[in-house]
Symmetry: C2
Subunit: 317 residues, 2 copies
């Protein structure tokens, strides 16, 4: 007879592509995973979530499928937020009804400084910040296509590693996800931004183009390097010295991968709101705070902000 294990209770808030995939994986690892859904609620309630993947298809039946976090009848060990990082989503209040004193709050989102408002509202909770390196999309409600990758990197925000961080790490690992833990998750976020800040915005602003198109034109290639240089400088002012070869390596790796559409371009084409503030706006704010000139980030941000607004207007009015 096996010794009784404590089964972690997890509530995923925003069970789209990312939340559905990782929720399913954590469920496979033995956690009791529930989901809060929005647009795909009916489908997920009726049929659960199906993940199609080159590494093996699987089904994910959440313990509870909910419309609102307040409907969750138990106390979660972790609330994992996997919505897009958009300032118009009031995350702190969305999770308020379900966050108890022992609940770890997990932000599995893109961008820089996206933890600020949650950290401010929940100063005594473990706030675990997670970066996901994954290609995944929801092809129809409740059906997720896992294209590639899946690695996660996690750490306590703003720094350190807690017991809850380690438990979550082990759970990811048990699920077959390549997972690493870091004392300095902010450094990891800056590192990821070195790629995201140029490639995501440029792919949209240059007329809807793929990664290799951006790299094969000498001017956009140079622009990418200049944006990357600004991000490295911001990271340095924030106290994180990124590896000196990071720009060269990011470009080399992107050149070796097949050409593809960035996630922001996919959002743009599908007329979904883009993560402009998480990727660029917060970086601009840091730059102002540090007094560091970042003209390229500023130009991209100003343009993309209007593109995004124009889009939303098209969508909702």
């Amino acid at each position: 007879m096996e010794s009784p294990e404590i089964i972690p209770k997890i509530l995923i808030v925003g069970a789209g592509a990312v939340g559905g995939f990782y929720g399913g994986k954590l469920s496979q690892a033995g956690a009791e995973v529930s989901v809060v859904c929005r647009s795909n609620y009916e489908a997920v309630r009726n049929r659960g979530i199906v993940i199609r993947s080159g590494t093996g298809d699987f089904e994910f039946k959440p313990k509870y499928v909910l419309r609102y976090s307040e409907e969750y009848p138990e106390t979660p060990d972790y609330v994992i937020i996997t919505t897009k990082a958009l300032p118009e989503i009031p995350l702190a209040s969305i999770i308020k009804p379900v966050v108890k004193s022992e609940t770890g709050i997990v932000l599995l989102q893109n961008g820089i400084d996206i933890e600020v408002s949650i950290a401010h509202e929940y100063p005594k909770h473990d706030l675990i910040s997670v970066l996901a390196f994954i290609g995944v999309s929801q092809i129809e409600h409740g059906i997720i296509w896992h294209q590639d990758y899946g690695r996660v990197e996690l750490g306590l925000y703003p720094k350190g590693i807690s017991k809850k961080t380690r438990v979550l790490l082990d759970l990811f690992s048990k699920a077959g996800i390549e997972a690493t833990v870091t004392e300095t998750i902010m450094a990891s976020r800056w590192k990821k931004l070195v790629w995201n800040a140029p490639f995501n915005p440029l792919s949209v602003l240059a007329g809807g183009v793929e990664t290799h198109t951006l790299l094969s034109d000498p001017h956009t290639r140079e622009l990418i390097k200049r944006v990357m240089t600004e991000v490295v400088a911001l990271a340095r002012h924030d106290g994180y010295i990124l590896p000196s070869e990071i720009i060269k390596k990011n470009i080399e790796v992107t050149e070796k991968m097949p050409s593809y559409k960035t996630s922001m371009l996919l959002d743009y084409e599908a007329r979904r709101p883009m993560e402009v503030e998480a990727i660029l706006g917060n970086a601009i704010k840091k730059a102002e705070q540090f007094g560091v000139p970042t003209p390229y980030l500023y130009a991209l941000y100003s343009l993309l902000k209007l593109v995004n607004q124009h889009f939303k207007k098209t969508l909702f009015f």
Copy 2:
């Protein structure tokens, strides 16, 4: 009996909206005006050009309507180039068959440094550079809608005023066009670029927006000022000190005018090639030559160049 006047012979190359309008006006002033047409050749040959204008509709029957400049049977006093300023149009060779030693070459186009290749090919000719401040569009082949304005400013390139410049000036004036002559047409081009360099590219890159939309967002408003500041700096390095209030005034004037779509945005929406090199590319080259950092111009140029290429691909393939 009046004294016999010399009637100037003018060949307009590129009789679209701008060429049709000014050609018609110069014809009204007594010049013998012929046109080289491309897409609108049949219509113009059959029915001439009709100009609809708040200041009075009029018809323009060119002396000759031609497909190629070599078909022009006479010797022109002026060849007036009114095509768009696009590097892929080989202007120097297009006009070669018709330019004789006494022919003045007139460039009535947008942008900075657009005179270079013609000046190089025709070093002994009067090269008259003209800026037009006009709102005009071809609503169907041979039918032109003159929305507003019409002022021209002209001077010899790179500087000075020749007899031919004055004769052309008088002809514009006689046609009822507000026309001024300048010793420093390059300064005028830089001045006009102060407006064109931010507003035209931003209107496209920010998602297809009008002038007041760009000015009412604090970030794009600031971006406009920063681009203008770079243009003023380039002009200074080129030897032209622009008025210190020029940025403030440009913004004030644009705010007082009704909100509108820039000519570049109209081109973009109609999937016509945009004047990216004339407005931004040549400015970037100047910046490199002077060793002046112009990150905002560089970012706009890099992005817009790709948008333009992507468009052309869509058009022709």
